[in-house]
């Protein structure tokens, strides 16, 4: 996974982003949801899908082999076998050798303690390497992640850094100069599309929103990673270092996820975002006001069907209805969804795919469990943290005692006790450090759960795209059928008039025009719907595979981590037990 530098605590924005998006969806205000729009898309649209392709895909889903995950080679230490005999406590006692020695030991079976590089390891004779993602850190999240592309030589790495305050230059309606933060976005890549291998741009958060919106439009049906929260906060808070740092981390995660997506990484939008200097040349999301104005102009035409009934260009049909501009369409689709729900007039549309509905249900269940697991993971992390802290405090208290006894010693027994205490204290302090390291690694691994919560939102978005596309199709179908009904009625009436009814005939002609246009629109909509269904299917399949691989890696990483640090901690205490072995009362009763 694309681990970030955030070692303390979890990234909260991943959880918040989906919630905020859902709220926006309900309000239907800003069209900034990834792939979702207005209340219409959330409605349960029923229909049968006779898409055999999807069905067959579903059945193979459970057997899917993830072609993307390379066999992890970094995991096991080169000279060890996971099935090694466990180095038990008694082995240490009997060997009498220093436990946890470096690779120079011949006697010891290689242990996982050696795999895990710890700067506080007393026996590690390498210098302390502070970089988080140093390659020596074999359990860094980088090395455990699947390589996101099919060929492992493809490489793209994005870093977000260097936040800076800048002043708004243009005259804005809001008085007083607006300041905002820009971030430096550095990309290193060997993908040919980009031309260069390393480049940087400066972007502000608004640009990211734009990017997300454009991607949502272009990649309907895809599971697009959700962008970070907009965070409605005061400008004062905006400039606080903590907030800026949180945002920087969130942006980095987001961009890395985008670049990990096999299709989106090649998108024009992302390329432009990452490479083009200066102002971001993507059309911005228009605000509601201007859209309303836009819509107001077009509305009369729509309402009265004037000007060659194609008031709305056909290609626009395939875009989901947004506010303002598409008021009329919005109304129609709302009516349609209502009629679908209440089963009033049953339009001759395909019923929603039962397997799709099952899949949706399953996804929902999965999301619930991921939420639950990630909450418990947080508790676990906290408990580990606390253990480390208290152990450290205990160690310090004993160090003070040791010092005290030594200073005040009158008898030898006191000095002996001081020595014993020191042994305990040193071990406690070491163990405490190990717990804390264990924890920061645990956070990185279990963070995978958090990441996938974000991806569940992406899946929901993809499903919503599909529903809204289906709604469009159904709206058009029902529109078509009512138009045709009108045409038939007119023809019937007109044929009763001898010699033809000039005005009626003219109306029929116009109607036939409209029908033709609507027919075309319907065909486009159906093609779009099929396309989105395909995207859905391949994306969900891809995501399922990725998720499973990522979860497996997470588990492995988590477990190896636990093993390694447990061994280290055990060694530390074994040493004390040995140093105090003269006090072993169990031995003496024999």
């Amino acid at each position: 996974m694309m681990g970030s530098e955030n070692a303390d605590g979890f990234e909260e924005t991943n959880l918040n982003a989906p919630r905020e998006e859902m709220e926006n969806l309900v309000l239907g205000v800003n069209g900034d949801a990834a792939g979702g729009d207005g209340p219409l898309t959330r409605s349960e649209v029923n229909g049968d899908s006779s898409n055999s392709g999807y069905r067959s895909a579903m059945s193979t889903l459970s057997n899917v082999r993830d072609p993307l995950s390379p066999l992890p080679t970094v995991l096991t230490p080169a000279d060890s076998d996971p099935l090694l005999a466990p180095s038990s406590f008694s082995d240490f006692r009997s060997l009498g050798s220093k436990p946890n020695s470096s690779d120079n030991s011949y006697i010891e079976p290689p242990s996982y303690a050696d795999v895990i590089f710890s700067p506080f390891d007393e026996n590690s004779d390498s210098e302390i390497n502070g970089a988080e993602d140093s390659s020596r850190h074999s359990l860094s999240s980088d090395s455990l992640s699947r390589s996101p592309s099919s060929s492992s030589s493809d490489y793209i790495k994005i870093t977000v850094s260097n936040p800076q305050k800048e002043q708004e230059t243009s005259n804005s309606i809001v008085p007083g100069g607006n300041t905002y933060i820009t971030y430096q976005i550095t990309t290193r890549t060997n993908l040919p599309d980009f031309g260069l291998s390393e480049f940087s741009v400066r972007r502000r958060f608004r640009d990211v929103v734009t990017l997300a919106d454009r991607l949502a439009e272009s990649y309907r049906g895809f599971c697009i990673p959700p962008r970070p929260d907009k965070s409605v906060v005061e400008s004062q808070v905006m400039q606080k270092q903590e907030f800026v740092e949180q945002r920087r981390v969130a942006l980095e995660k987001y961009l890395r996820r985008l670049s990990a997506h096999p299709v989106i990484r090649n998108s024009e939008e992302l390329k432009v975002f990452l490479q083009v200097q200066g102002k971001l040349p993507l059309p911005t999301s228009t605000d509601v006001a201007s859209r309303m104005l836009d819509g107001a102009v077009k509305l009369p035409k729509q309402l009265f069907g004037e000007g060659g009934a194609s008031a709305v260009p056909v290609h626009e049909v395939v875009q989901p209805a947004r506010g303002g501009r598409d008021l009329l369409r919005l109304f129609k689709e709302l009516r349609q969804s209502v009629s679908n729900d209440w089963g009033g007039s049953k339009p001759p549309v395909v019923e929603e795919d039962k397997e799709f509905l099952e899949k949706k249900e399953k996804m929902h269940d999965l999301e619930q469990q991921i939420i639950n697991a990630s909450q418990q993971a947080e508790s676990l992390v906290k408990a580990q943290q606390d253990m480390g802290e208290t152990m450290g405090e205990l160690g310090l208290a004993f160090i003070k005692l040791t010092k005290f006894e030594n200073e005040e010693a009158v008898f030898n027994s006191q000095r002996t006790r001081a020595t014993d205490m020191k042994s305990l204290a040193t071990a406690a302090v070491k163990a405490s450090r190990f717990y804390r390291e264990l924890n920061s690694q645990t956070v990185k691994h279990l963070d995978t759960l958090h990441e996938y919560l974000g991806m569940m939102m992406a899946v929901q978005g993809a499903f919503a795209d599909r529903s809204s596309a289906l709604l469009t199709v159904q709206t058009l179908l029902s529109e078509l059928s009512s138009l045709q009904a009108r045409a038939e009625k007119l023809e019937a009436a007109s044929s009763k008039v001898f010699g033809g009814d000039k005005s009626r005939i003219r109306k029929i002609e116009e109607l036939k025009e409209t029908i033709k246009v609507t027919e075309d629109a319907k065909n486009v909509a159906i093609r779009e719907y099929e396309r989105i269904k395909d995207n859905n299917r391949s994306e969900v399949e891809r995501l399922d595979g990725e998720r499973r691989a990522d979860f497996m890696n997470m588990m492995k990483g988590f477990v190896v981590n636990q093993v390694g640090y447990a061994e280290k901690i055990s060694n530390v205490w074994a040493k004390v037990a040995e140093e105090t072995s003269q006090y072993d009362r169990e031995k003496q009763i024999s």
Partner: protein
């Protein structure tokens, strides 16, 4: 139960009572806690078994039933009679009502009482005490009578006792700071000792506090592992294979480790935190002895002064050939005897304390050494089983992911 409770240190060897030419020994055990009585008046009684060949004891074995207040009686009597000796401390009287009868609490108390009695039975002077014999041998009615008859100041509740200690502390530190006139005969060594004892209590209390917290942390970690295991199993149920099985295995291991952690928590509580608490109590008992020494010295001073005054008065009377001389002479002799007694008492306390402090330091080094050793072993064992448990998952995880 009793057979597993070895008294920490046994006087002499573990010789069977049947060998007639064996050295004198006295071995005691406190066991089999039983809840008696109803409702508010319910209490725990313990079986106290004495094995001995002491001449004035009913040997070779005698079993009596005792309750906590009987132990308190014994402690108070010893404190009264053997001034200067660091009387072994008792576990605290009342716990939070809820836990008063919890299995853990009862067991901890039983163990502490066992240690208490054995320390007395091992002490060269204390083991010859009549009160100890009463405690170990008297039948229950007699014991109860003794307990109720106690009227001295030492029937105070521990809360009062604590207040006494605090008073002592302030008095002693006043003396150290020189606020009062120097009533305490001090030597540099004794001053050092007092300072040491008071400081030691602070340090120990802090260590004990963290030890207690550590017990809690073990429990919390255990709980979170349990919850995590459950959640991960549910997650596995949603996922297809092989991830589902992997999650299920992970969850099971997590639940297993949770149990180990709860067990270790209990061990740490009994074998590490409790000895530290005992250490603190011991130091508090020493503080009480320090107070006693102060009191004894004051008495010695006052009586010496009074004797001097009486002597002067007597000489005066003798010079004036008063007929009160006879009376005065008798008074003078009485006071002088008392003063000599007080001086002797004080001297005994000083001597005893000198021996006691050596004993105390050695005993504590031994006891803490044992506690540290057990703690370290426990932690090492725990870490090992954690490592083993997680390690056993790895082959399965490897196999699953290469499918």
């Amino acid at each position: 139960m009793e057979s597993t409770e070895q008294p920490r240190s046994i006087s002499g060897s573990m010789q069977s009572p049947r060998s007639p030419s064996s050295q004198p020994y006295l071995s005691v055990s406190v066991s089999d806690p039983v809840k008696l009585g109803n409702g508010v008046q319910s209490y725990i009684s313990y079986r106290v078994i004495t094995k001995t060949n002491f001449p004035d004891y009913q040997g070779p074995e005698k079993i009596v039933i005792r309750r906590y207040s009987d132990f308190v009686w014994l402690r108070d009597r010893l404190f009264e009679k053997y001034k200067g000796i660091f009387i072994p401390p008792l576990p605290e009287k009342s716990a939070v009502e809820k836990f008063r009868f919890s299995a853990e609490f009862i067991e901890m108390r039983r163990a502490a009482l066992d240690i208490f009695v054995n320390r007395i039975a091992l002490h060269p002077e204390l083991k010859q005490s009549e009160d100890l014999r009463t405690f170990l041998q008297a039948d229950e009615e007699t014991m109860e009578r003794f307990r109720f008859q106690e009227t001295g100041i030492f029937t105070k509740k521990p809360a009062d006792l604590m207040q006494m200690f605090r008073d002592v502390q302030s008095k002693v530190s006043d003396a150290v700071l020189g606020k009062e006139k120097p009533v305490e005969e001090t030597t540099p060594e004794y001053e050092k000792l007092k300072h040491y004892i008071f400081e030691l209590e602070n340090h120990l209390a802090e260590a004990q506090k963290h030890a207690y917290r550590l017990v809690k942390r073990h429990r919390e970690l255990g709980q979170s592992l349990l919850d995590f295991g459950k959640a991960v199993k549910l997650l596995g149920a949603c996922e297809g294979e092989p991830t589902g099985k992997a999650f299920s295995d992970l969850g099971s291991k997590s639940e297993l480790l949770s149990i180990k952690l709860q067990k270790e928590a209990q061990q740490v509580l009994m074998n590490f935190e409790e000895p530290l608490k005992d250490y603190v109590r011991y130091v508090q008992s020493i503080k009480a002895t320090i107070a006693e020494r102060g009191t004894a010295f004051r008495q010695h001073c006052e009586l010496a002064e009074t004797t001097k005054l009486k002597e002067i008065n007597l000489d005066k009377l003798m010079l004036t050939r008063s007929d009160k001389v006879g009376e005065a002479e008798i008074e003078y002799r009485e006071i002088k005897a008392e003063s000599e007694e007080a001086t002797e008492r004080f001297g005994r306390i000083v001597k005893r304390m000198e021996e006691e402090i050596v004993r105390f330091q050695e005993q504590k080094t031994e006891e803490m050494g044992v506690a540290f050793h057990q703690f370290a072993k426990g932690q090492a064992r725990l870490a090992n089983s954690i490592a083993d448990a997680w390690r056993s998952l790895l082959p399965k995880l490897e196999a699953s992911s290469s499918v």
